[in-house]
């Protein structure tokens, strides 16, 4: 029976009405699965469409932040895929992250320049306008002779060049990696340059805020490392543009920011700090070391997220060398504490015995015994514990993109007076970089750079093999081809699976040729020792007038 017959003969039954209703629901896009790809996929920038001018400043209490991460860190029993990535498994630019190294050609000069836009504080008088509000390093806020505001910090006594050098070098590394960074400059201060500003205040133990005096400045300098010539080396951070509203948490979303729709523990660039943190030994990941600012662009206010203080890196802390266990254990780790308690401390961990070549300006930082997967920040930061193998792979490729020359050039910006210390830091970063690549590139199906030409030849690369961290898969590569219905999500096989020993696979006959048509290719590497390689990646192409465009890539299919 057809509808026309029903109408013509007046035999429109309730059965046919219900059948039509079901049919309408089934064939409608809303009733069916939402389409997998949109025309603008893969997006290159995460849009911020709503005005966020209404957000208010909010301090995240340090102890609360530590306790929450230690004892109630949000973690899914089954790790879920990062939720801010685009359809080809990449992180779009956003107010959290900007694709720089690896994604684009980044010159050594650009990497060395980092976020810097100038030369640091202008020569001449520095007017102290405020006492330092947080952290343990001595410092204050000053205004230079050009009227620019700077947040200055000093190295601790006996820790010459340590905190300032680490901060400046790490700033360059994290900027190249894609994070928003403050401009940090190493500068030298003659105390005679300092004057107390009219409105400068200091907090006192009583809670009262009183006018600052020159004695207060002297007390700060008494806690700073004084050079033989009476000057002080300082790290000067340029004030950030916009209205600061406090730090961000490594989990959840800001309830008052309409554009913040992806839980932070599911943001790939935050998960990737597991790898970047391991590389640089960035152990002090806490809300207090981040900073959000409200910026107004094109009449709309958005929140920009800074990884503001990356100075807790390498082997030095703010006041002394890193504690021995930092980077190896969380500050509270029940099972290890229990073992130590029961064995009278004889249950030794690696940090208790590994040798260090220790420089005062670098601290305890080594690469020979470093195991990337076992590195830990001080607390089990939510975004890091949610990181999956594909997140780590994504991050490791960026770390591997730093050449030896680039690393050495960046380390030079730390202005270490001891050449051996500078060389040591660069050497260790290079060793740790390689270990990260060796650990994370082969840990998941490592195929990259997929291209499909109009003749149907699929080409790709094996990132682990290219980097020399794995041998080519003994069983070669296997591809299964499908016609893909973007509206329904159904995949219809085309031909039989095709195996190739090389990095090229010819598609079978019968690929769709019409504009806007999709195909799906499942590609696996057959190599029994690397079992994760046999899990096929899912690759999607859309047919355009000029050829095939990569629109989808899932390294670890759900």
């Amino acid at each position: 029976m057809n509808t026309r017959t029903c109408i013509e003969y007046g035999r429109l039954t309730w059965t046919s009405v219900i059948a039509l209703l079901v049919l309408a629901l089934l064939v409608s896009p809303a009733g069916a699965q939402q389409r997998k790809f949109y025309d603008d996929d893969p997006i290159a920038r995460e849009p911020n469409t709503r005005d966020a001018s209404g957000v208010l400043e909010r301090d995240i209490d340090l102890m609360y932040d530590l306790a929450r991460n230690l004892f109630a860190v949000p973690r899914n029993p089954t790790l879920v895929r990062a939720q801010n990535i685009n359809t080809i498994d990449e992180v779009p630019d956003s107010e959290w992250f900007t694709n720089r190294i690896f994604a684009k050609q980044l010159s050594i000069d650009e990497a060395v320049k980092g976020p810097d836009t100038g030369q640091g504080p202008a020569p001449g008088k520095l007017i102290v306008t405020r006492a330092k509000q947080s952290g343990v390093t001595p410092g204050f806020t000053v205004k230079d002779s050009a009227g620019e505001t700077w947040f200055v910090q000093f190295d601790a006594p006996g820790q010459s060049e340590a905190a300032s050098g680490a901060t400046v070098v790490a700033t360059k590394l994290f900027h190249a990696l894609g994070y928003f960074q403050t401009e940090n400059y190493i500068s030298y201060l003659d105390p005679a340059q300092l004057e107390v500003g009219d409105k400068a205040k200091v907090d006192t133990p009583s809670g009262r805020v009183r006018p600052m005096t020159i004695d207060d400045i002297h007390k700060v300098l008494a806690r700073a490392d004084k050079r033989p010539d009476g000057t002080y080396r300082m790290m000067a951070s340029r004030g950030i543009k916009g209205r600061t509203i406090g730090g961000f948490k490594y989990f959840g979303t800001r309830k008052d920011d309409p554009n913040d729709i992806v839980p932070h523990e599911h943001r790939r660039e935050l998960r990737a700090l597991k790898v970047f943190g391991a590389w640089t030994n960035l152990v002090d990941m806490k809300a207090g070391n981040t900073l959000d600012t409200v910026l107004t662009e094109n009449g709309r206010s958005v929140i920009r997220h800074y990884l503001q203080d990356v100075g807790s890196t390498f082997g030095t802390g703010a006041l002394a060398s890193r504690e021995w266990d930092e980077g190896y254990e969380y500050i509270v780790e029940g099972d290890k504490a229990k073992k130590r308690l029961i064995t009278l401390g004889f249950s030794l961990q690696p940090w208790q015995t590994i040798p260090y070549t220790e420089y005062g300006s670098i601290g305890r930082f080594e690469g020979d015994y470093f195991i990337p997967e076992e590195w830990k920040p001080r607390v089990p930061t939510a975004a890091l514990v949610n990181a999956r193998a594909d997140d780590n792979f994504w991050a490791a490729r960026r770390v591997m993109a730093f050449s030896d020359e680039m690393i050495r050039a960046i380390v030079k910006t730390g202005q270490y007076s001891e050449p051996a210390a500078e060389k040591h830091l660069a050497d260790v970063l290079i060793k740790r970089r390689d270990k990260i690549g060796r650990s994370y590139l082969p840990a998941v199906n490592p195929l990259v750079e997929f291209r499909l030409d109009t003749s149907g030849e699929l080409t790709f690369e094996n990132a682990a093999v290219s980097a020399g961290f794995a041998t080519a898969p003994r069983g070669g590569y296997e591809a299964r081809w499908y016609r893909f219905d973007n509206n329904s999500g159904t995949a219809t096989p085309i031909g039989s699976p095709i195996t190739s020993q090389g990095l090229k696979i010819q598609a079978p006959e019968g690929l769709p040729a019409g504009d806007g048509e999709y195909i799906k290719v499942e590609v696996a590497a057959i190599d029994p020792p690397n079992s994760s390689w046999s899990i096929p990646m899912q690759i999607y192409f859309r047919r355009l007038t000029g050829g095939w465009k990569l629109v989808g890539l899932q390294r670890m299919p759900d």
Partner: protein, 406 residues
């Protein structure tokens, strides 16, 4: 309405629904950007202020009030200390108010499970003379209800146990000079009044077993002008908890009687502590040596002011005040291991000590020994809770303390 017309009406509705179902999803969200924008729009309709939940507010209050990890608490805060040695587990609270940027006055109280109690008023005014000088004044009242007494000498029998109640009222003013961070010297003077009462423990009260010959000044409630001077060299990170460094402290006290028919006396005390970290503070060897001496006629140094051994901070395998005499020598050693660097230490320890009526009689052959094991919950600079179990020649002894052993 006729059934057939009803069906036609339904058919028209299906058509309209089909148009509706196709339209919004298919055309209004033609891009990923639109999809994200829709989610952001949805969220914008339900924005909430970023507020701190109750847990965070509580923690923040503790932090801002300086309850933990702060030398400068404000308002109410928990106070960890001991009323008097042997008082058992003690709870305390204090209230601090500032009357200057750095100067404060506070009231603090302690109460122990043995009904020991202390209430104290204190004011401290630091930061004078460019931070070199600090002034303080303290006044208070203490009641220790059941302090054990076993007589004098290292051979005093355990079955000679009696107990007494001691109440002390005191008022003192002092000044501390700290020319460098690792050295300070403090001078103070004040008034001390002691009142003895019957002990409340199960053992006999002191007057039932002892007299003035075996418990000097028993029955006299003296009052003194107490003047003292203390010099401290501290090269450990903190006195309340340390895994490296040490300290040397020397103090002298002069008690001038102002009421009662007894003479004046003096006390001197020297103490040295050294912590030696091993294998990156996997273990710590800690050593302490201490000598105390009372100077004055044998009958004029009150029995409760005599140097004594036996407590949670001296000979831990013996009860509080187990051995008393005019001179004492104490040596302690601990082998500590650190299950958690931020909060938990364990220790195997041994103590040895003796008392004697004359300094020359402090013989190594008279030492009393103990050994034991302990668990300590600590912060970066304090040890608010310590449990030790120690075995001496008279059996096991359990210690609960709110301070480090040394």
């Amino acid at each position: 309405m006729e059934p057939l017309k009803t069906r036609w009406a339904a058919l028209i509705m299906i058509g309209a629904m089909s148009v509706f179902l196709w339209t919004p999803a298919g055309s209004a969200q033609e891009s990923r950007a639109d999809s994200i924008a829709r989610q952001q729009e949805d969220k914008s309709k339900n924005l909430q202020p970023e507020i701190q939940d109750r847990v965070e507010l509580f923690i923040k209050k503790m932090t801002e009030g300086g309850w933990f990890f702060s030398a400068t608490p404000r308002g109410f805060y928990p106070y960890f200390d001991s009323v008097y040695s042997g008082g058992g587990f003690t709870l305390g609270a204090a209230y601090r108010a500032y009357y200057g940027d750095y100067s404060f006055a506070e009231v603090r109280g302690l109460y122990s499970f043995k009904n020991y109690k202390r209430i104290e008023f204190r004011t401290v005014s630091p930061n004078h003379a460019g931070g070199l000088l600090e002034f303080d004044a303290t006044g208070g009242w203490m009641d220790a209800t059941q302090i054990p007494y076993y007589g004098l000498g290292i051979d005093s029998p355990k079955d000679g146990e009696a107990n007494f109640r001691l109440q002390e009222t005191y008022l003192q003013g002092g000044v501390t000079l700290r020319p460098v961070s690792w050295f300070k010297i403090r001078g103070a003077s004040g008034y001390d009044r002691f009142v003895e009462k019957e002990g409340t423990a199960a053992s006999p009260s002191i007057e039932e077993l002892y007299g003035p010959g075996t418990a000097p000044t028993l029955g006299i409630d003296p009052s003194y002008v107490h003047t003292q001077a203390t010099a401290s060299f501290v090269w450990a990170p903190a006195e309340g908890y340390a895994r490296r460094g040490g300290l040397f402290r020397l103090s002298a006290h002069d008690y001038r009687n102002v009421a009662g028919d007894i003479d004046n006396f003096q006390l001197t005390r020297g103490e040295v502590v050294q912590h030696i970290p091993i294998l990156r503070e996997t273990w710590v060897l800690s050593f302490r040596g201490r000598m105390e001496s009372a100077h004055g006629s044998d009958s004029d140094v009150p029995y409760y002011m005599l140097p004594w051994l036996g407590s949670g901070s001296s000979l831990r395998g013996y009860g509080t005040g187990r051995f008393r005499d005019k001179h004492s020598l104490l040596m302690s050693g601990e082998w500590r291991w650190i299950p958690n660097r931020y909060a938990l230490d364990m220790a195997l320890f041994a103590d040895a000590g003796t008392v004697a009526p004359h300094f020359k009689d402090l013989h190594m052959g008279d030492l009393k020994y103990d050994y034991g094991i302990g668990i300590r919950f600590h912060g970066p600079e304090i040890t608010p809770l310590r449990f030790d179990i120690a075995h001496g020649s008279e059996g096991w002894h359990f210690v609960i303390s709110s301070s480090a052993a040394f």
